[in-house]
Each structure stands twice: as structure tokens, then as C-alpha cells.
Symmetry: C2
Subunit: 190 residues, 2 copies
DNA sequence: CATCGCCCCATGTGATCACAAAGCGCATTG
DNA sequence: CAATGCGCTTTGTGATCACATGGGGCGATG
């Protein structure tokens, strides 16, 4: 999910087993889960690899993120109070620091934490799980994305999200979330 | 997905293995997949059961269906041609027959085939996979639903969907799909 | 008769083994 | 020197086994 594995990278059950010091059986089960969620691909012969997404699929996943996350944000809005907003601002500060350090994995992790923190307030576990499944599928690709945008951009849309939360502005929140989610992925498709 | 298993029904790995004449290993892997997709629950001790959904979760899943399937229908609309509409009408005929026979599983299966047939035209495999994941989670619950509505109702909203497809009426299509998806599940929540 | 507690059985987990297939490298040949 | 074919090695699959744990049924007790 955090882009620690490059797109197209191959994995082996025995290798995973060695890495985590277990036998093939638990490695197989974990891998089966990830394949079911689309986070890993399995060739007809059973070879395992991280998926290299086509532009069409990236567009689809971005559209799914927009659909689901806008809804989650909208449901979180009435429940958002000051403690939540403070927490989101703290995460934003972390993001800025991480960006300064050129830490791609840290960036992705902190960015997703921002979103997850907001969406947890929606009290919609099934929707959140769906969103996280999409994040998982995009993980390896995100890495490629955030190494491409080299400028140390502060989380602009995150500030818009916080402002909309403070103002109780639902249309503004929906727009800000949609923009934040779509923004980065657009440049990978184009 | 088709409601052949009642909500809350328990399953065992050895039982599944016997049923399909394989050992525990493939049964475990299949079950792991289904647990990952939310189609089965696993207690802390590892006991397997079909989930008994709370009203809140049903509402969530219905909202997800509405979000995703409206988008899929909308994407399918420009690609819909007469052969597709004919096929949808044929499925509708099947549904009417199945309803007359009080065949709940057949009803669910045919109903989902109607939706899948339409959504396949959207050329959006990731979205379709998401929708099917939701169907899977709702499967056992759907059965409870369609045994509850006892009247031999013809697929009303399906006809609206077909009409909107013929007319190229996108807002009408979105509304018809949302209504069809929400209609039944509403009565389970209330 | 109801309730509580205990024990046995059934259940999931992880390891290991045998096997088939696929991929890769190397040697051979044109 | 390049292309091709063969064989070894590595990979995933499925079965089986030993084990720990938890649940349900049965009996004892109030």
C-alpha cells in the first residue's frame, strides 16, 4: 500500500516465507488475500508479481477513489469536531516534513493516514475497507507517482479539506476531496 | 453471492473439503479469499461463518452499490447498442419466469446477471470487481430479502433502465439504477 | 428443574513432503 | 557470432500430519 514494492516486481512464496520466518503456508494465505484484493497479480502459471497498471486501470481506480472517498468525507463532516481537525493539521505538518526529506514511502503513508483519519469519523467500515482496497491496488503505482512530482509541494488540497471541515461546507469538502484524490493520478494517466 | 447460504451459517474447512472432494489446503485458500472480500467472517478463534449483517452495514453496502453501479451504468450508456438491450430484455423475461416459480436463488442470480450484463459494457473491470465484491457480501442477506417480498413482482426498475438506455437518457438511467439497487435493501433496513 | 463447570472432540494453524510445470541458462549447431 | 533446443533448478499446488485451542454436550449440584 505504501509503495515499498515497485510495479511489476516479482515475489516468491519461499522468499516471503524466509523474509518473515514462516513456512510457505502462511505466506501462501497472505498472498491469496492480496491477489483476491487485486494488490498482487498471479500469472496463469501462478507466478506472483505486483501489478503494473495500465492508464485505463489507473483512471478507473482514481474514479473509484473519488466516488467512495467523497462519500466518506461527506459522512464524516457532521461528526467532525475540533479534536479531529487538530489531528488532521498535525498529520499535515508531518507530511510537510516528510516531503522535505524526499521520503516517498513516508509521504504516501502520511498522506493515506490523513485520509483514513478523516474517514474513520464516517463510521462506515465497509466503505473504508473498499477505499483501502483501492489504495492497496494503487500502492506500487503511487510510488512511481510521488517520485515523479519532485517539487516539495505542501499538501494544498489538504488545507482546503480542513477549511471546508471548519466551515461545515459540504459541497466545498466534496470538491476538495475529489481534487486531492484525482490531482496526482491525473498526471500518471496523461 | 446467490444467497444459497443463510446469514450466520457456520462452515468448516474439512466440511468444504469433503463437499468439493479436495483436502483442507485448497478449502483454506478459498475461504481466505472470501474472508478478505468480506463474504465470510472469521471469529478470533478462526471459526468460519457467513456474516449476519447489521442494518447499518446493509445501508452502507446499499450506498456503495448505488455509487458504483450508477457510475458503471453511466459509463455503459454510450456503448449500449440494440443487441445489448435485447439481451437485457431476455434476462428480464427469465426473471419473470423465475419469480413465478418462487425460486429465490434463481431470482438473485438472474437479477445480478442483468446488472452484470449491463456493466460489462462499461469496460471498467476494476469497478465491476468492486461491485461484485459488494454483491458477495450481500449474498446471504439478499436471500432473506427476496423471500420476504412475496408478491410476484415483475422487474419494474429494470424496465425503466431499459427505457433510459433506449432513449440515451443519462439522468434517467442513473435514477433508475439507483432506485433498483436501493429499493429492495431499504425494506431490510427499515 | 435450571444452572454451572468440566472434559472430550472437532476445528483452524503451520510445517513438511511429493509432484508437475515453467523459466532460465548453457551448450550445441548453423 | 547468433539462434535454438535441452535439461536442471526453482516455483506453485495439494495432501497429510502434529498441535493448540475453543466450543458444545453432558453430568453434577443447588
Amino acid at each position: 500500500m505504501f509503495g515499498q514494492i515497485a510495479p511489476g516486481e516479482a515475489l516468491t512464496l519461499r522468499g516471503i516465507g524466509r523474509e518473515f520466518d514462516v513456512s510457505m503456508t502462511p505466506a501462501r494465505e497472505a498472498v491469496q488475500r492480496l491477489v483476491a484484493e487485486g494488490a498482487l497479480t498471479m500469472s496463469a502459471s501462478g507466478r506472483l508479481a505486483t501489478p503494473a497498471l495500465t492508464p485505463e486501470r489507473i483512471e478507473e481506480l482514481a474514479a473509484l477513489r473519488a466516488l467512495i472517498e467523497v462519500e466518506l468525507a461527506s459522512r464524516a463532516l457532521p461528526r467532525a469536531h475540533m479534536a479531529l481537525i487538530d489531528r488532521l493539521q498535525a498529520i499535515n505538518t508531518t507530511i510537510s516534513e516528510v516531503v522535505a526529506n524526499r521520503d516517498a514511502v513516508g509521504y504516501i503513508r502520511a498522506n493515506l493516514e490523513f485520509h483514513r483519519t478523516l474517514y474513520l469519523r464516517a463510521q462506515a467500515p465497509a466503505m473504508l475497507a473498499m477505499a483501502e482496497t483501492v489504495w492497496l491496488q494503487l500502492g506500487p503505482t503511487m510510488r512511481a507517482l510521488y517520485t515523479r512530482l519532485r517539487r516539495s509541494e505542501a499538501p494544498h488540497y489538504h488545507r482546503l479539506i480542513i477549511a471546508a471541515l471548519k466551515a461545515g461546507d459540504e459541497p466545498g469538502l466534496r470538491l476538495a476531496v475529489r481534487s486531492d484524490v484525482t490531482q496526482g493520478l491525473k498526471m500518471l494517466v496523461g
